[in-house]
Amino acid sequence: MTADAPRRLLLGPQRPAPYLREALEAAEIEARSFAVISAGWQEAESDIDIIRDAVGRPVADLELYRRAETLFAEVPKMGEAYRERQARLKEQQRLYRSRLKQLAIAARNVTRENAHPALVDAELRHAITQLRALDRHHLRATERLHAAVGPEWQHARNRPWRRHHDEIAARIEAHDAVIVTGGNLPVLLNRLRLFGLADLLADRTVIGWSAGAMALAHHVVLYHDHMPHGRREPEVLGAGCGLIQRFVVLPDPVHRLRRNRPGRLGLLARRMSPQRCLTLDHGEYACFAGEQLVAAHKARHIDRKGRHVRLRPS
């Protein structure tokens, strides 16, 4: 079953130098050509020469960013509805953030209490349960916002949408694998969802780096511990493509995570459970056949004590 399952290769940042080709070779992913999703680069979407140079194979741009702009111009009411939905999603994110902050502070305060360890542990478990409940609630709320708009426009009777969708499907079919680049995560997720990429990619070999890797997971978590004006709590942004169900992907931890704070990291790991927090720095990768980890290089996950544990194929 594993041998036939589609491969998903997850990578960290491709800066300062791309290591895409080395990872493809090491993970034994053979492809004569690649379709590319670089919608996260927005206006620079078409600048895919760097990928062609990196893989040494032909690449074709799926142009999701440009297609969305074109589609919204072709069907103005659709564009209006999606812009409205984006505004609601931002409001929902803000409301969630406001509640999350208080719950996260409460959880951290519990860990600092001078009380019997068993009591602290019980209260911490409950605090984490509350955090997880809020995350789940937020995921459901964002899905409801998507569901209120998507089905109305993303169907065969909407001819412009269908034309783009079918062209994308045909291009994906014409190539052996699909590369999803890093970039602006909300924009990338938005375009993936708009054109139904989760279904189109389900049985394909997919390679994703940074935002591209995050978007392949069940859901997506934003995080950065080194913001200029103080850290923020890691927050769920929404659902991903769901091609990787058991991991939340955290790229570039060397720059984004305070790795010397095991308490904070352990809290994140417990909050995200049953998904595991997979960290991917430059040069690292994890390769899955379906849900089965089949190869990994230096990739780690964070355990419930906040330790970085090397990921090993079983």
């Binding site: 206006e43 909300p186 934003l222 950065h224 913001m227």
Partner: protein
């Protein structure tokens, strides 16, 4: 006095070789947790330490240590401080201001160079240093026909590394742009902060005035030049986001006054202000004592304090607590807050100099123009 120096002085046979070895083994000035000891070696009638810290004597005498031509002066200096100084050497009735021969760390400004004392715990921020991973933006010069001044003004324009004609950018206009580039590493800072996603890619117009003490002192023609000449020229040439929250003004000292005045004269145009050690002199009663060059500044600031309006939606102020202007900057803060402006004042243990302003750029720029680092994963 620094304990190592005290130990050296206790030696009975303190010869040139011992002093040479001591000087070679230490960095100067000698920095301790709460104080700093300046050392000079050489023949002189007197040595003075010149520091520009408001509240302290400008010239503080060194003590002749009586051995091997050594002199020293110790001052209290709180952790995290950074000060600039010079030594005044008096010989045969002649006085000469020099940089500290024992200290290679210098700060440059339009008037030359000063020695720099980095107090306990101060570190130059890494984002002010060139980073080979940061892609570099480029500069080009835009000639701007100015109706306000009746002449053509050349403005240097910084374009970020990933500049594209189809991607609209934020706009920041910087007063004393040349000084910011040369003495506050502005271009390096922009490259680094954009690379780190701490600010969005932005277009930065660096203006330079041939008569800054006049044009920056609350001068209507200067404000009209920015709003009526430079802004339209930039909009015609480059893709710019078209809303006040995407447009900002920045300046230090008189440049801070010019920024505030320009936004006050054209309310609703500039949504963001970054004002460093602004020379916001005012008089509550009677005449001010800062000299005639401040007359127009005081006139403007008095009018501004009377009716501040809402010159911008968000403002970042910074000021060194070792400069006298801290009083004016602190007193401006509540006036701005009262107008509902989202404003912050960062006070730092530094003085009125370009490296102070350099070290605040990350906080100021990212406060006014938050970057996409939370949502972009490259």
């Amino acid at each position: 006095m620094n304990p190592d120096l005290r130990k050296l002085l206790r030696k009975r046979a303190l010869d040139d070789a011992a002093v040479d070895a001591f000087l070679a083994a230490h960095r100067f000035p000698l920095v301790d947790e709460e104080s700093v000891t300046f050392v000079y070696r050489g023949e002189a009638d007197a040595i003075y330490l010149h520091i520009w810290i408001s509240g302290l004597d400008t010239a503080q005498p060194f003590q002749a240590l009586g051995k091997a031509g050594l002199w020293a002066a110790t001052i209290d200096l709180p952790k995290g401080s950074r000060i600039e100084y010079k030594l005044e050497v008096e010989r045969n009735g002649q006085r000469e201001l020099i940089v500290d021969p024992l200290n290679p760390v210098l700060a440059h400004d339009p008037f030359g160079a000063n020695s720099v004392c980095q107090g306990w715990g101060y570190e130059r921020p890494d984002w002010t240093l060139e980073n080979k991973e940061s892609r570099r933006g480029r500069l080009e010069t835009l000639p701007v026909r100015s109706r306000a001044f009746g002449e053509i003004r050349a403005v240097d324009v910084y374009l970020p590394a990933n500049y594209r004609d189809n991607r609209p950018l934020h706009l920041l206009m910087v007063h004393d742009g040349g000084e910011y580039r040369h003495f506050a590493a502005l271009q390096t800072v922009l490259d680094n902060l954009v690379h780190r996603l701490e600010i969005p890619p932005m277009l930065v117009a660096m203006t330079q005035s041939p008569d800054r003490l006049n044009e920056y002192a609350g001068n209507d023609r200067h404000a009209d030049f920015l709003a009526g000449d430079l802004l339209p020229a930039l909009q015609a040439r480059y893709p710019l986001l078209d809303a006040p929250e995407h447009r900002g003004l920045m300046g230090a000292s008189f440049g801070g006054v010019a920024s505030l005045h320009a936004a006050w004269r054209h309310p609703g145009l500039w949504g963001r202000l970054l004002l460093q050690s602004g020379s916001f002199a005012f008089s509550d009663i009677g005449r001010h004592r800062r000299g005639p060059v401040f007359d127009p500044v005081v006139k403007f600031m008095n009018a501004f304090r009377e009716a501040p309006g809402r010159p911008a939606e968000r403002m970042y102020l910074s000021c060194g607590i070792y400069e006298s202007l801290i009083y004016e900057n602190r007193s401006l803060l509540p006036r701005l807050q009262d107008q509902g402006i989202d404003v912050t004042l960062e006070e730092v243990r530094d003085a009125h100099n370009w490296e102070n302003w350099r070290d605040r750029l990350r906080n100021g720029l990212s406060w006014l123009f938050p970057g996409p680092q939370w949502i972009v994963y490259e």
